[in-house]
Symmetry: C2
Subunit: 347 residues, 2 copies
């Protein structure tokens, strides 16, 4: 994606060479392939990809593929390189020390912000892949919602396995380890799915498919057994908060404004919403835009999540999350049913 | 693991504070827990762990847990810190820039080698966890070997899903994405499992369980259909190479020596063995000892893989891999059957 755009920026910024080293996610971004080990060297004139024999030789127009061996450093230092672009948010200190020896006279420039900005605005191809990942995610939820009443799902782990099998059989991978949290377990937002038995209460499922390297992220809640009015009210408060917050999305508004709005809507539970409202998503499940950066505003073709939550220690946890795109209008991509699904008979 | 040993080394090396930042795998090593975000600050006198509200509050003896927020930098810079230890192989340049501002007068010392050396010698607790991961991996193979003749497995992806479901139902995760490679696909050692149909030929399966944060890694081959004598001979050559190489393991021998031995045993296929003979394994699927480092020798309580392979482009690929421990004697931990399993009727 956007390799030519990045090369144009390098020319403008007078950066002779940008070097991206495995496991930098931008390797996947620019090549749309996964590697076991790789270096991508981009100048305004050409692009070289060094890979090992562990991986299939990729066919990528505009990228020259070379063997990853001890000669990559020679190959790259052949030309007079004065300004070298590096991704500071991914490059390790150990690799930086190597590069300093290869380019002893070079000036190093952090290109991480450039890469984040490029990636935070999605191309139509990217939107299409994320849309497919989100559809697969929504379908997996519809399948599990029907499965509960069959009595085959006994533990958090059973639910996670079911969701994962659905996702995998639709030709996708997992975007991240599935979170399934029963009752009080969900008070920890990133609860580690375990062998807790399914019992009466809220069951939170936070999961997502990864399709052709692009991620989806969705959280849904079902109620196992018969909920009290108080329980229904808590869920409805959160659902209204999430839906109304989505309606507030508008060009040039800051994500912080959106976050503040959501907190207000939660009323007495505002202090129990202990994480950020959302995050950008694409090649990585968490990427730019960063909601907590005051300077970052909503722009067209950003894809991000909206996920308010309420967490009361040792009692319960709730979160409702969608992945959506803003393209002037708002389009929720994770289209699974959001009203509370009550599964009275689940065992 | 070995937190006190690491603290003793810090005292000896006069390192005032070692700072390990997420996603450094040593966070998992020292705490035996996974976090969404964390910083571990270790001095010879005490250990502080900064975590967010996303994760469960851990109960770890000897570690003081604090909130991960904007105050961690204040908390850490309270005392006079002159020498700061950092893991250069994991810390990003961006985080290093932050630390330089927090400790403007400090000297930074790379502790990556110290950490690698500590981790490459396993404790009995670690050996026990890896042994369980390997048992689960072997059991999953036994199950899939029985499944082939049922005709339910039609593609590489079906085989991967079956193995993964077996592993997950035994309370483990995947140590890495499962490689299932049919026929010529296996000529790429890290083939990406896809929808290729199972047909007559060698089927290579490279997979492993992760149990309580510890990894197993195993590769097995089955033959679908009836093999020719030439095919049986190729497999037997590789199997003998792998088994004889394992017998060569001895204290203070270098891994390079072992690697050279395996290549010689492959005879005319030596040039078709395009990767390293093996790697250390533990918290990470690839960790110290590194086989390619000439100075590194076999020591007691190292856990590593032995995995020779033969890769002939567009024709076939073969690899046989075990995870084993050397504790004076050699103990293969991935105990699954290694003679060629022929599945004449598989569809």
């Amino acid at each position: 994606m956007k390799l030519k755009e990045f090369q144009a920026i390098l020319a403008k910024e007078k950066i002779d060479l940008a070097i991206l080293m495995f496991p930098d996610p931008n390797l996947v971004y620019f090549t749309q392939q996964q590697f076991s080990q790789a270096i991508l060297a981009i100048s305004s004139a050409d692009v070289k990809l060094f890979i090992t024999k562990l991986d299939r030789l990729p066919k990528i127009t505009g990228i020259k593929t070379l063997n990853f061996d001890q000669t990559w450093s020679k190959e790259l230092s052949k030309n007079k390189i004065r300004r070298v672009g590096l991704n500071y948010t991914s490059l390790t200190l150990a690799d930086f020390e190597k590069l300093k020896k290869i380019f002893p006279a070079a000036e190093f420039i952090d290109v991480s912000k450039i890469l984040q900005d490029l990636r935070s605005i999605k191309t139509s191809k990217e939107v299409s892949l994320i849309t497919t990942a989100c559809k697969i995610t929504a379908k997996a939820f519809e399948a599990v919602a029907k499965e509960f009443s069959k009595g085959t799902l006994l533990t958090e782990q059973d639910v996670a396995l079911f969701l994962e099998k659905e996702i995998r059989t639709m030709n996708a991978e997992l975007a991240f380890p599935t979170i399934v949290a029963m009752g009080p377990n969900a008070a920890i937002p990133h609860h580690v799915t375990g062998n807790s038995k399914l019992t009466r209460g809220f069951l939170v499922m936070d999961f997502g498919a990864k399709y052709s390297n692009y991620c989806a992220d969705m959280t849904r809640v079902v109620f196992l057994g018969k909920p009290s009015t108080a329980e229904i009210n808590k869920y409805d408060l959160l659902l209204k908060c999430q839906e109304e917050t989505i309606k507030q999305i508008a060009e040039n508004k800051s994500f912080i404004e959106l976050d503040n709005y959501a907190r207000k809507r939660l009323g007495k539970y505002a202090d129990q919403f202990t994480h950020s409202l959302g995050h950008g998503i694409g090649i990585e499940v968490h990427e730019a835009p960063a909601f907590r950066d005051k300077k970052i505003k909503i722009s067209k073709n950003q894809v991000f999540t909206i996920e308010p939550g309420i967490y009361v220690k040792d009692q319960f946890g709730l979160r409702i999350e969608d992945t959506l795109i803003f393209n002037g209008k708002i389009r929720v991509l994770t289209t699974a049913f959001k009203e509370l699904i009550v599964i009275e008979k689940f065992r």
